[in-house]
């Protein structure tokens, strides 16, 4: 079959709602775009372990410590199966990690902000995981089988994370005045980065018809952002916290909240590497990789010795 015919069959398959699987024919642009998106998602999971891991040793009680450990373990697991899913596109994990370490590959802008107090752990679960779920439930309906299946599982776990984050915030907001101040401060610092992490507004990020048609991209950034805002504002009201946006108001006609201007300059600075923690996050990953090199070499050497013994025996 020539390329034009294959492309036609590929697009027809996607239009019918069927999934594309690793051994199916796919256009190079589709493969490249998926590698970029999926590895960026995987990198976000493992870089995201750092700001949250930052508070495991200081969690305020044993129950919170256990929940946070379980959550960060989930994130590491997401990273692992997203790397595995990306490998089905013909690239291996070491190459993907090299792209992260050299700065060629990106990860979510949100993890370049610091976790300054315990309340930030609540804010991340509630806002960051909440925003991620909005994006990921859409992606679960995409066209690439391994990514969709990973996303279904990830979304289930993320909704637990989202609830535990909100539960932390609720306890703080209903706690002592000092605790409530911690919660409001965390919301003030994480609100704008959370709505920015869903990506540039549609006028700055035109979605190509092709990516939509190929079901790589399912919804526009602004549409996802609006859904996240509409879901989150009443949750803040319910626990008595204030969204740090004086222009935020409910549009009675649409039932949606309108928001004030987003500081996109800040977003693009963070993306470029100039956020508060970009250098630290990348350094932590590169250091872990370097310090672990001799461990991985030992494991490889040991496995080679054992398989040689098997051959002799």
């Amino acid at each position: 079959m020539d390329d034009a015919k294959q492309l036609e069959a590929f697009e027809a398959k996607i239009a019918s709602g069927a999934k594309i699987e690793p051994k199916d024919w796919m256009p190079e642009a589709y493969r490249k775009q998926l590698i970029r998106m999926m590895s960026q998602h995987a990198h976000s999971e493992i870089v995201g372990m750092l700001p949250e891991g930052n508070w495991i040793t200081r969690a305020p009680n044993l129950r919170r410590k256990a929940i946070l450990l379980a959550k960060v373990q989930d994130e590491a697991g997401h990273g692992l199966y997203l790397y595995s899913a990306t490998e089905t596109l013909g690239i291996d994990r070491s190459e993907l990690l090299a792209q992260l370490h050299t700065g060629k590959a990106k990860y979510s802008s949100i993890f370049n902000y610091p976790t300054l107090t315990w309340a930030d752990i609540g804010a991340i679960g509630w806002l960051v995981d909440g925003a991620a779920i909005m994006n990921q439930t859409a992606l679960a309906r995409g066209s690439y089988g391994p990514y969709c299946r990973a996303m279904v599982r990830i979304c289930k776990e993320e909704s637990f994370h989202n609830r535990q984050g909100y539960e932390i915030m609720m306890h703080l907001a209903q706690g002592t005045p000092e605790q409530k101040a911690l919660a409001q401060d965390a919301l003030n610092r994480w609100w704008w980065p959370s709505i920015m992490m869903l990506g540039p507004s549609d006028d700055q990020s035109p979605n190509s018809d092709q990516l939509m048609r190929w079901k790589v991209k399912m919804e526009s950034n602004d549409a996802i952002r609006q859904r996240f805002i509409d879901r989150t504002v009443p949750q803040a009201d319910f626990i008595g916290l204030t969204i740090p946006d004086k222009d935020m108001k409910l549009d009675e006609k649409t039932g949606s909240y309108t928001h004030g201007p987003i500081n996109w300059d800040e977003f693009f600075e963070v993306i470029k590497g100039n956020g508060p923690c970009n250098a630290n996050r990348l350094k932590a990953r590169v250091d872990a990789d370097k310090k672990g090199a001799w461990v991985r070499e030992a494991a490889t050497a040991y496995a080679a010795k054992r398989s040689k013994e098997k051959l002799v025996a």
């Binding site: 891991g53 495991i56 040793t57 450990l69 373990q73 494991a299 040991y302 010795k305």
Partner: protein
């Protein structure tokens, strides 16, 4: 000494050791040598925190002075902690962490195997759950002992150094005092001499297979039963307890 006092003291020893080694393992989060190990270490840390929670909850009930697991974990100071010295030693490199974990997991495996037969039903129930978990932990650390011991020259040297450095903390695991004597007589806890024999046999087998030497250090460290720790514990507790102590009336 009453039975209540002896049980409380023993539960602190068990619970504190799990809590402190769980804390040390959790420090690896996000910094492991490979993603699979990050997952494993967090998972194991979580098991230890869970085990510590059960033991400290029960300790508080036995004590009957209104202290729950959080009061015991977060409101006791350095001299009141009863964890084994080996558990508070810093992580060092990955070989050092694996050596520490292997020595402690082997001890815990044989100890909890016996605690399953405790005449105290709560201790026996906790031991049944914990022994299942520790069986996996020990398999994990034993496999890494082989990989690092019999991997490359560098990994062998690092692991041997780790073992040599930690060896002086191992005999403390088998020290017994009047608390042990009291509870052994009641059929609640095992005689640690039995654990020691099993521990030595298993440790020596794994070291031999991993082409490692049994350390020759004869110098021994002890003191945890009287709350005499290394300087490392104070920093660990300062970090672990600060949020809890900074907001005295708060619920989380």
């Amino acid at each position: 000494m009453t039975l209540q006092e002896a049980k409380f003291e023993y539960l602190l020893r068990l619970g504190d050791s799990s809590l402190i080694i769980g804390h040390r393992l959790s420090e690896w989060c996000g910094h492991g040598p490979i993603l699979e190990e990050d997952i494993a270490l967090i998972n194991i840390a979580l098991d230890f925190v869970g085990n510590a929670t059960s033991l400290l909850t029960y300790a508080g009930q036995v004590e009957s002075k209104g202290r729950d697991e959080d009061a015991l974990a977060f409101m006791r100071g350095e001299r009141e902690y009863r964890n084994l010295l080996i558990t508070e030693q810093p992580n060092g490199d990955y070989a050092n962490t694996i050596a520490r974990q292997f020595l402690f997991d082997t001890y815990m495996f044989f100890l909890y195997e016996e605690l399953k037969n405790s005449k105290d039903e709560t201790i026996a129930a906790i031991a049944v759950k914990t022994h299942k978990e520790i069986t996996y932990h020990l398999r994990h650390t034993s496999e890494w002992m082989l990989r690092l011991g019999d991997g490359t020259a560098e990994s062998h040297e690092r692991l041997q150094n780790g073992l040599n450095d930690l060896w002086m903390f191992t005999s403390e695991m088998f020290e017994m005092d009047e608390v042990d004597a009291f509870l052994i007589k009641e059929g609640i806890v095992p005689d640690l001499n039995k654990i020691k024999a099993n521990w030595e046999k298993r440790v020596f087998e794994v070291l031999a297979e991993a082409t490692l030497q049994i350390p020759t250090t004869t110098f021994k460290q002890k003191g945890s039963k009287e709350g005499k720790h290394s300087e490392h514990l104070g920093f660990l507790l300062a970090e672990m307890q600060y949020v809890h102590r900074a907001y005295p009336r708060a619920k989380w």
